[in-house]
């Protein structure tokens, strides 16, 4: 994209990008386990399927037109398009991506996994009550009309936010703010589950927290591809210094956030829960995402601590309301994404200086990026949500919700452990 074009393939960079793409794909089953463990037994499959379905449908959409819209030639910095990119027909497998020494197809794949996981993240807010058909249509529309433009604005070299200088290393705005705030709007449109009670209650208990912990572990693992692979945007070889930095800050932030959440919860509630610990992991990973290649490891620790504190408070506050963000997609991804995207402006040292080094300019840009993402995603989700509601309705019937979506929608039960 930028700079001189390297004529030959760099096998090391390509190796790392292939690996990273695979790692990001693995985050989807990881998310399925993370979310699937937290719902009631009768909805475990339906919840896992939300993530898996995104692999299939966005997997196809990305090849057909998603990549084209996100990374095709820019039309005014607003949207990409190249007829030759539809179906990737105009991307010979031997064509390299910019000066990074990797095949463009590998870049396509890496970006495609991001496009897959983002709508899957949203599904945490709508668990246990959304219609399958509506979910499917919604995520295709959302990916096309929300994700692709936003990715273009922030990551394409001609995107208007990119040109403005907004930093988003691996998806604080494009992925987490987008997913988190869209989740919020969709949860409001859907309304709470019939057993949801502000302040807790008896009825909603997680079916399998061992799955949730395992899912969090897979997410942590896959996130190294997510963040360290995103060095593809800034450096050749891709598996170089920035990738190493991003890997390190990712690890530091996740560890610090998990530890913080555990300690805070222990102090505040008297017990350190595994769900809290897992939420801490995710909050740290989310918050470091926009910052991974821009901050020092020790500042990543601080970022992790702050993210855990803020998200913890967000979860607590949300619990007092009627809002049923069932698995905290908003409180962790939305809020954590904002924390990260803003703090980049404070903590960054490369390629530009942040507040810590006396420069306030970047912070301003970050606020613009955050504001634009929130506004665009919230409005568009509202519009798309209402459209889908009009077309198919958003919620399953009360009977289906009571019986569980597994049996009613998928004709299956998650477990048969009786005999």
């Amino acid at each position: 994209m930028q700079g001189t074009v390297q004529a030959t393939i760099d096998s090391g960079s390509t190796a790392w990008m292939l690996t990273s793409s695979a790692l990001v794909l693995l985050m989807v089953p990881g998310l399925a386990l993370f979310y699937g463990g937290m719902v009631r037994k009768k909805n475990v499959l339906a919840t896992m399927m939300h993530s898996f379905i995104a692999m299939a449908v966005i997997g196809v959409q990305w090849v057909l037109w998603g990549y084209c819209l996100s990374f095709g030639s820019s039309h005014g910095g607003v949207i990409g398009f190249d007829a030759s990119l539809l179906g990737l027909s105009g991307v010979p497998h031997t064509r390299l991506f910019g000066d990074k020494g990797i095949p463009e197809l590998v870049f396509v794949m890496f970006q495609g996994k991001f496009a897959i996981i983002t709508p899957a993240l949203i599904s945490g807010a709508i668990a246990e009550r959304m219609k399958l058909r509506s979910y499917l249509v919604f995520i295709v529309l959302w990916s096309t009309l929300v994700y692709c433009p936003l990715a273009h604005w922030v990551w394409a070299s001609d995107g208007w936010l990119f040109k403005l200088g907004v930093l988003d290393f691996a998806g604080g705005t494009v992925v987490h703010i987008a997913a988190g705030f869209s989740a919020l709007v969709l949860a409001i449109l859907l309304g709470p589950r019939r057993d949801h009670r502000p302040g807790g209650g008896h009825a909603i208990v997680p079916n399998n927290l061992a799955f949730t912990l395992t899912g969090a572990g897979l997410l942590w693992f896959g996130w190294f591809g997510f963040n360290a692979g995103s060095a593809v945007a800034v450096e050749a070889p891709v598996s170089g210094a920035v990738a190493g930095l991003a890997f390190t800050t990712t690890q530091a932030a996740a560890a610090a956030a998990a530890l913080t959440w555990m300690l805070v919860e222990r102090l505040h509630q008297g017990k350190a829960t595994s769900v809290g610990f897992a939420s801490g992991i995710v909050a740290g990973l989310v918050a470091i995402t926009p910052a991974a290649g821009h901050v020092l490891p020790v500042n990543a620790l601080a970022l992790g601590v702050v993210a855990a504190l803020v998200c913890y408070v967000a979860v607590q506050q949300k619990n007092k309301t009627k809002l049923d963000d069932s698995l905290d997609a908003f409180a962790v991804h939305g809020v954590g994404g904002v924390v990260g995207a803003v703090l980049v402006g404070v903590l960054c040292f490369t390629p530009v200086a942040g507040v810590l080094q006396g420069s306030f300019a970047q912070l301003g840009k970050q606020l613009v990026g955050v504001g634009v993402s929130i506004g665009y995603c919230a409005l568009m989700t509202l519009a798309l949500g209402l459209l889908v509601k009009k077309l198919f309705g958003l919620r399953v019937t009360e009977q289906t919700e009571r019986d569980g979506l597994d049996i009613a929608v998928h004709g299956e039960r998650g477990y048969h452990l009786e005999s």
Partner: protein, 119 residues
């Protein structure tokens, strides 16, 4: 013949089995059927936390035992359960209850035997 049904604390099952063994049979072959149930009564369950909120379980896990006995064994069986199922230091809320119900007939499936001998 009576069918004795008792609801006890799960952690007391082992002790109850040991006591029953003493009164019902010299060797290991006392007979009993057990299942896991949930109870609601004076006792309140352990609060769980889920996503930052207290979830107060309506029900508490309990263990239910069912023993069919001949009449002269009713009282020893009840006493054995009382001895073993009661929390040390004089009983605590949630220790459970014993129900004694009439039993008209009892048949051993293996042999078809009926009545007291089949218990």
């Amino acid at each position: 013949m009576k069918l004795i049904i008792a609801v006890i604390r799960p952690e007391r099952l082992e002790a109850v089995q040991e006591e029953l063994q003493k009164v019902l049979d010299e060797d290991d072959n006392y007979r009993i059927t057990v299942d896991a149930v949930e109870g609601h009564g004076a006792q309140h369950g352990e609060v769980e936390l889920f996503r930052g909120q207290a979830v107060r379980p309506r029900m508490i896990p309990k263990t239910r035992i069912m023993v069919g006995v001949n009449d002269k064994y009713v009282e020893p069986t009840v006493q054995a359960i009382l001895r073993a199922a009661r929390t040390e230091s004089g009983g605590a809320v949630g220790d459970g209850k014993i129900f004694v119900t009439p039993l008209d007939e009892c048949i051993r499936i293996r042999t078809g035997e009926r009545g007291g001998g089949a218990i």
